[in-house]
């Protein structure tokens, strides 16, 4: 036993005396080590943005995508262990297919959050299991309009107007809280999401990153679509202009 461990953190089936399950907390640490992922629920759609940190300059841009489609109206952004996330995407897709086979309809976002949450929770109650080292930002458009949820490694989930996970989650949340969600269009949310990812990025620790942007909105006919190059450029220009203005203020 190491100096800090007290024996309560070996299995997910053991509580510590003060009622914590350390393995779940460690899983959350895995999430905190990864690039920031955010989700915004705007008036007419949802926007996902991810700061995908490059491990090497040799990596090909556009690979290992961290925002993935589940159905055409539903997608998820993940932070944490990428291969865990991939498994969750696969699971979400099969849940969505299952729902479709039963009801001939697309799965509502809330149902998806519930099912995926319960699936992740199952890995937090058996001693032989390792919890998923992932937070999932789940969003889409259904009969209720735009929907956004975030599931953490414990399997619990909440609905959000804006949410963030990963390295820069504190900075990102502070920025998200300033947004006026009742007036925000999805198109504008893309710019804000871009700005927030850039401000949450820590240039001292991580140099290269790739911005992943996806939206599901009235403008995309409720479909999951990667934001076009032109719109990304526009959002980055908007971010740059704000940063320049800030620098002028500092001088």
């Amino acid at each position: 036993m190491t100096s800090i461990g007290t024996g309560y953190d070996y299995a997910v089936s053991t509580y510590s005396p003060d009622g914590r399950v350390f393995q779940i907390e460690y899983a959350s640490k895995a999430v905190d080590n990864s690039g920031t992922a955010i989700g915004i629920r705007a008036k007419d759609g949802v926007v996902f943005a991810v700061e995908k940190l490059a491990q090497s300059k040799l990596q090909v841009p556009g690979t290992n995508q961290r925002i993935q489609g589940v159905e055409r109206h539903l997608g998820m952004a993940t932070s944490g262990l990428l291969s865990d996330a991939k498994q969750l995407v696969t699971r979400a897709r099969s849940d969505a297919l299952n729902y479709r086979n039963s009801y001939s309809a697309s799965i509502p976002v809330k149902t998806m959050a519930e099912q995926l949450g319960m699936f992740m929770h199952a890995y937090t109650i058996y001693s032989g299991a390792r919890p998923y080292g992932c937070s999932v930002v789940l969003g889409g458009m259904d009969d209720e309009g735009p929907q956004l949820y975030m599931i953490d490694p414990s399997g619990s989930y909440w609905g959000y107007r804006g949410c963030a996970s990963g390295k820069g989650k504190q900075v990102a949340r502070t920025e998200l809280e300033k947004l006026k969600f009742d007036e925000l269009s999805a198109r504008q949310a893309i710019k804000e999401a871009t700005r927030i990812i850039y401000s949450a990025h820590d240039e001292a620790k991580d140099k290269e990153f790739e911005l992943e942007l996806v939206w599901i909105s009235a403008e995309t006919n409720g479909r999951f679509e990667r934001v076009s190059k032109e719109m990304v450029a526009e959002a980055e220009a908007y971010t740059q202009a704000l940063l320049n203005a800030e620098m002028d203020d500092d001088e």
Binding site: G69, R72, R93
Partner: protein, 244 residues
């Protein structure tokens, strides 16, 4: 034969008679027509779903778009068509999830439909439909028009007609379209299809004069709202016989 069957005990009947619950359609749609014209593909079908000879449902859509540039028209069993729609929807979602930048084009949908129908007929559980599959390729602008039926039979042609239309409309379509696929204008194509649908309405007792028409061009797809064809029945007074 029927009287002998009635005398047989249940068990003996089961032992001797083949299973027959897949041997016919129940609620049916009649002909679908499709042609190539200058700008792409045009298809038409009426809005009727018959229950035997009863005109049971009169606002049914038998033209279904898949993706941006593929249209499918179905005749035959409506329930089987709805199942096929679900299967194709799942195919499109599966393809979307791959996120490989590749788009299912008309020939892929056509091929999938062919394999689906052929495998089901080989299981002796045929999907009781004939399909017209049409589309225009997004980059090459190449036109595609094909036919698939419940036996898994396929062919491609510049004019296609299913069901009753294969007998009545196909000769008219061939005369109007063949050799002129690259010069027919949209207006001419609409007139050809409307005229053929009208002929079918006069002669096919399972048809309706309320129809939908769809066109696929390199710019995308348009499906019309249902509209009614003008008909002229004055000549009917002079028809004598036929039990009237």
């Amino acid at each position: 034969m029927a009287s002998i069957k009635l005398k047989l005990p249940q068990a003996a009947q089961n032992a001797q008679e083949p299973i027959t619950h897949s041997d016919g359609p129940i609620v049916t749609g009649t002909s679908v027509l499709g042609i190539k014209y200058k700008d792409g593909i045009m298809v038409a079908a009426d809005c009727l779903a018959s229950y035997g000879s009863l005109a049971r449902f009169r606002d049914v859509n038998r033209l279904q778009a898949f993706g941006e540039r593929t249209i499918i028209g179905a005749s035959g069993d409506i329930g089987d068509f709805q199942y096929v729609q679900d299967e194709l929807e799942k195919l499109m979602i599966k393809d979307f999830c791959l996120a490989d930048g590749h788009e299912l084009a008309t020939p892929h949908v056509y091929s999938y439909l062919h394999r689906l129908l052929y495998s089901r007929r080989s299981e002796m559980k045929p999907l009781w439909n004939s399909y017209v599959v049409g589309g225009v390729h997004s980059s090459s602008s190449q036109r595609f028009l094909g036919y698939v039926d419940l036996l898994g039979t396929t062919y491609q042609s510049s004019t296609i007609a299913t069901g009753f239309g294969a007998h009545l409309a196909q000769p008219l379509l061939r005369k109007a379209v063949e050799g002129r696929e690259d010069t027919l204008t949209e207006e001419e194509a609409v007139k050809i299809l409307d005229d053929c649908m009208r002929v079918l309405f006069y002669r096919d007792a399972r048809s309706l004069n309320r129809i939908r028409r769809a066109k696929v061009t390199k710019d995308g797809m348009e499906v019309t709202d249902p509209y009614s064809l003008e008909t002229e029945w004055a000549f009917a007074e002079h028809i004598v016989g036929y039990g009237a």
